[in-house]
Every structure is written in C-alpha cells, then in structure tokens.
Amino acid sequence: MNQYPTWKYLLIASVIFICALYALPNLFGEDPSVQISPAYARDMKINEQVQDRVEAKLKEVDISYTSIDRNPRQLLVRFKDTDTQLKAYTILKKALSEYVVAQNLAPATPDWLRSLGGQPMYLGLDLRGGVHFLMQVDMETAIRQDEETYIAELRSRFREKKLRYKGIHRVVDGNGGIMVTFSDLEVAAEAKKFIEKQYNDLNVQADEYSLYLSFTEKALKDNKEKAIEQNITTLRNRVNELGVSEPIIQRQGEDRIVVQLPGVQDTARAKEILGATATLEFRMLANDDDEFGSRLYKRRNGEPVKLKRRLIVTGDQINDAAATIDQRSGSPAAVVRLNSEGGKRMLQTTRKNVGKPMAVVFIEYQVETKYVDGKKIVNRSKTEEVINVATIQEEFGNNFQITGLTSREANNLALLLRAGALKAPMEIIEERTIGPSLGKENIDMGLLSIVLGFLSVMLFMWMRYKNFGMVANLALLSNVIILIALLSLLQATLTLPGMAGIVLTLGMAVDANVLIFEKIREEIANGNSPQSSIHIGYEKAFHTIFDANITTLIAAVMLFSFGTGPIKGFAITLSLGIVTSMFTAIMLTRGVINYFYGGRNLTKLPV
C-alpha cells in the first residue's frame, strides 16, 4: 500500500529538475550594458558592420567590454561596471546617432542556460524603476479633423463637376456631420448621386435643398482605429529618441495608449519628447546651377542631398498613406493621398518636372524646457532628414504613389508619412514614476519577506507535524521554485504586489498539507492502521482541497481581469501559486511519503 510506480517518481523528479533549471537564471544578476537597436520603422539592420563600428570606436577610446552579442534586432555590449557603461554609452550614442543607443541592465544568464531558453523574471516598473504613462486620445477632435478634410475635398470636387453649391459647413452641435446646401433642387439631387457613388464611407440624407453627410458606422470605427494606430506609430518613433532599452507602447481599450519606459527618470523630458510635433515636406532636388535657391540636407545614412528651397507640400496636407502594390509593374509602392490644396500644388509642380527627382523630408520639432537659476528657458530644436528620393514618372495631384521600394521600405515609408504628426491630440491621464532607489528597495523588501515568510511557515509546520511537516516544507520549497520557473518562462511581469502574492501563497499553500495531515491524524485516532490512514487522508482531503482552491482561483481571476499593472502581478502570482501548490502539496508530498513510509509495516506515524 502507498507505493507509486517508478514512472511517477521519475515524473515528479523531472518536473522539479526542469523547473529548478528555469528558475536558475534569476540567480545570476545583471550586467551593466549598452544596447544598440534599429530605430523604429527605419530600414536598418544590426549587422557585422555595426558591430565593427562599435568595436572600433570602443578600441579607439580604450574602453574594454566583457562581451558583445549580436542578433538582427540588437547589439548588446556588456561592461564590468556602471562607470564604464556610462562612458561607453556617451561615446556610442554620439557615434551611432542613427540607431537607438540605450543603457541597459542585461541579465547575466550563462550562455548554456540562455540557449535552453532560460531567462530571469520580467520585473515590473515598480521593481526596476521607470515611467508609466496612460494617454487618452481625443477622438472627437480626430473625427472633426476628418470632417474638415472632407469638406475641403468636396469643395474642389463639386467645383470640378460643376455642381454649384451655396454653402458647405461642419455641423457643430450634436453628432457633427457635414451640411451642404444648394440653390437648385436638380443640382442637389445630382450631388447626392455623385457623393453616394464616390464616397461609400458617407451617409447622405437629402432634405430638399440641403444634404446632410455623416460618416457611416464603419467609417467612424475605421477612422478611430486609424487615429489610435497612427498615434501609437508616432509615439514609437519618438520613443526612439529617448534611448530606452525595452519600451512598451500598447493600446489599451478603445481610445487609450499605455507607454512604459523602464529606466527613464526624467519624466519632464519624456513628456516633452512624446508630445513633440513632427511633419513632412516634399521638395524637388536642386540642380547644380541653382546655388541660391537650395539648401543642404542629409539622408538617413548621412549622405548629403541638395534640395530646392521652394516647398511643394507639407505633412499636414497628407490625408493618408499606405503600402500597396503598383498595378502596372506589380512592385511594392507607397500610396499617398493629399488634401485638395496639397493636390493642387503637387499637380502644378509635377506637370513641369516629369523625369526629375523629388525628396521627402522628415522634420521633427522638439521643445526642451530647462531651468537655470529658477528661470524657465525653452529650447526649440528641429531635426531634418531626407527619408526618400523618387523620380516623378508623370504628372499627378491628390493621389500618387512612390515606387521603386522594397515592400518593407514601402511599409516603413507609409508609416513615417502617416506618423509625421499625431492624428489626434493626446492627454496624459495617469502617470506613475518609480525612482531607481525605490525600485531596488522594493526588490530587497520583497525578497526578504519571501525568505522570512518561508522560514516562519517552515518552522511552524515542523513543530506541528514533525517529519511529515518537513515533507510539507519540501513541497513548499518546490512550490516556490516551480512558481519562479513559470513566471520566468511566461515572462509575466513581477511586481511588488506580485511578490506579496508569492508570500501569501506560501502561507496558504500549506493548507492542503494541513488538511491531509489532520485527516491522517483523525484516521489514526479512529483506530485505523498507519498505512490506510495515509491512504484515506490523501483520498478524502483531495475533494476538499480542490473545492477550496477553486474559489480562491475565482477571486484571483476576477482580480486579474479588473486590475491594472501591479495588481495584475498579484493576481498572476496568486493564481499560479494556487495551481502549482496543488501539484506540490498533493502529488509531491505523497511521492515523498510513499517513498519513505509506503509498503512498510508501521506501528505509528511521525505526523
């Protein structure tokens, strides 16, 4: 009685072994390092040349590094201390300005462990320090801007089609929309037909001389989606500037964006950069002879380009941009849609310049506020970059496409064209910043709580249940190891409340063993033999343990669905801890007890 087949022992042992392996990376600490990665949406690769440049630069200034790792996404240079890291960071940031260069604390997981996919737990902002912003996108303004673009477009289309209208304006109250009035009923009817045919994203309601236009449900939804996506893209572009090693920029709900910047302390600067405005300009390339009407620009790769001073179109005249496939050549292209004003200017220019190259310039304005002796000094800076040069194939106006790109380039160009400016204004509605000292303290306090909590429960269990208590303690230790392994593998965010959740799990996880051991004692008191008491204890306690744990799990799941950041961390560790404790407290302790006591002739039990 009370014996497990060998495979069951092996199963238990291998689960513990594998979990111990994956919990291991958490013990190795971190290396101060500098991380070099491509800027978002720019077609750059981290290749050997980049590595060579970094190595050469570091050699030049005589900075030694402990290791250098390269993958297509990033180059990671590790240093022996933070002083060296800071020195290297300052130099590399200058030398590789077109890349995102960030200071980072890279996990010092040994290579063999990393090759098995082992990595330490992902720490939340409250443990590693950094900034969390929640931004609300002002959708109403976005829609209003769309309506205005449509009004401009309709004006010129009506003129083109010789549909004489009396007035066209945005409806200010209620649900918005556009009102067009005509003085002729026939023209109104014709205009209605025209709009219905050409604009399937508009609802048309006719009332004698006037037409009321509003976005269809689908168009509204699409516009909102586009607005939030574009804002996210813009934010990603801007976060590049901050040099953050692992930024998180995510949509939350319908109209919100979460920005998390680990390691960033200077919130004021972060806010300035995120709130920066950027735009685009289309300019013709200058000939050699117009020396005075030209200016020198730089391309992404640093190559100089001379452009004409005369501006064709600016970014705020771009309505939309998307990657597509050119109908004629079948090659990737970026389609750009300008508003009527921009279209007109583009038409005038291209008519005269077929066969000549045109450039797209990306311009970013930044505002930096500094305080010197309590006085506010505002620095406005402007960065300009030529992101694309293309030859004009034929004259075009509102709609045109830029070809001669790879599909990746087309995607990126479209992104940048759209990302030039925020589609809709945003407001920070929540900010949480944790300084590095507090983050460090939180880790230390969390760890100490886990260790002390663990020891006190162990002592107590040993006092009450003797040898069986020690078996429960072994299960408790395994539970912590499995929990840490799972958190590491899932890369779930560990927060301070999450650590509190681990501590709480420690206290609650022994409950299963308490239930079993009390039942065993009861059975012995009832005059059962030790072996059958063990058997009954485990069998009968199982249902109770299961029922009881399910309810805590329900609460934890509710908590997860409701909670934000740190609270979610608590819900995760609590629910994982409950699930893993079922394995350790029932299967593992049974295994150990079977191994030591099973199948023997016992007269009493050390419980």
Binding site: L496, A500, T551, A555, M558
Partner: protein, 311 residues
Amino acid sequence: MFLNRFDYKIDFMGKRSISMALSVLLMAVSIYSIFTQGLNLGLDFTGGTLVEVGYKEAAKLENIRKVLKENGFAEATVQNFGTSQDVLIRIGKHEESKDDPLSSQILRILQAENKDVDMRRVEYVGPQIGKELVEKGGLAILYTLLAILIYVAFRFEYRFALGAIAALIHDTVITVGLFSVLQLEFDLTVLAAILAVIGYSLNDTIVVFDRIRENFVKLRKQDSIKVMNTSINQMLGRTVMTSVTTALVLIVLFFVGGQLIHGFSIALLFGVIIGTYSSIYIASASALALGISKADLMPVQKEGAEQQEQL
C-alpha cells in the same frame, strides 16, 4: 506547546446568538462609519498628484511645507512615509499644466531648497481614471461574489451557498469598515487584498461545509446543530493551523514588505482573522437559520455513501 490533536468539543452553535449579536454590531459600526466618515480613499481613486522624495538625513517637514506654501502649493499635504528620511507630498485638485507637470514643479521647488533630494516616486492620476477605478473596483467585488455564489450553489446546496455569501459579505463589510473607522488609506492594493480575503474566507468556509455535508450523512441520528458542532470541532485543528501560517506570512509582510504594501497586509491580516471567525460562525449559522437539514442533502447522500463503501 501543541496538543497532538485539536480534540475539542466546543459548543460553537450553542453560542451562535452571541456571535450573531457581535457580528451584527460590528457590521452596524462598519456601515455607520462607511456612511458617516467614509473611506480615506487613496490617490488611485481620488485622482491627484503624489510625489515621494528621499533625503540623506531626517527630513524637515516644516521647511518643506513652508517652501511649498511660498510657491503656491498651500494645499499640499506633507508627511513622512515609512522612515524619517522619506517624505510624501500629496496635492489634490490643482490645475495641471501640459508643458510643466506638477510633479516636476514640486521636485524643482524641493531641489532649490535642499540639493540632497532624491525622487523616489511620482504618481499622477487623472480624475476620469479615479472614477473608473471606483466603478470597476466595486464591480469586481460584486462579480467575484456572484461567481462564487454560482460555484458554491452548483457544488453544494443553495442554503450553503447563501451561508457562504453571508459570511463573505460579513468579511468584506467589516474589513472595509476597519479602514473607515481607523481612516487608513484605502488604495488599489487594499482592494486587491479584499478580493483575496474573499477567496481565502470562502476557502475556509468550504472546508467546514464539506465536513458538515459528510457528517450529515455519517451521523444520521444527530440533529443539525450537533452535526455542525462536531464538524466545526473536527476541522478546528486545520482552521487554526492554516490561519496561523497565513497570518504569520502576513505579519512578516507587514513588518518587512515596506510602506507601499502596509495597507495591503493590514487588510489581508484582518480579513484572515475575520474570515476564520466567519467560516466557523456566520456561514454555518446562516445555513442553519435558513433551515438546512439532512433531508436537503439527500441527493448528496449517494456520493457520501459511495465514499463510505470505499472505506
């Protein structure tokens, strides 16, 4: 120090009128306090700005208050947080400017006064977020109770389910009441703790119910009160052990876990104590008051009989 087995024969159910009176009193005080004093809601729910700074030496709160007042932040509350070096500054509703966030203004003012100041934490919660969290938090508690009611009703008899819910409402109200009476800060972590308390207390209740159900079948000749008493006494060892181990880790968390989770550990610690008490008294007594008897457990009898055969 310990008895080998908690072999008690305490007449719990006989004293249920006393416990009921006590519970009703505690709940009345809690509800009265919640409605008159309200809760000392944390920043998460009220919205506003909070700045935590650390000094190298013990901070001079008076100086900080003075410079803040001079710079137009008369309404700021300044207090120590955890240690004498750490200071927490809260600003309720104050006009937030887009170009120059309040938190940066505060930090600058403090830096001008004393260079050795270290930013530890900044929180800003917009008014709309606070309102949302209050709503979502309340709903989370309601949904949890509902989900549990359904689960317990499904697994047990409905009178047990109602008894369990009565115990949970009892625990929640009295724990929130404690925060109201003592005016402890009620923030998101406390709310999380209360949800965890609900889970824990129910865990306790279910263990007792499981035994009651089993004993209703086993001890056919005894009346309901006796069966309940026996069951509670049989489970007392386990109830006490689990409460003690959980309380132990929470005490550790309270003393070592840092100021940030003080509220959290207080809520849980208190909740565990109340939860233990309620699973002994409130849950069973409510089921009894609703008239639970052997006859109601007839369908379950089959399951119990099977278990007995196994023996």
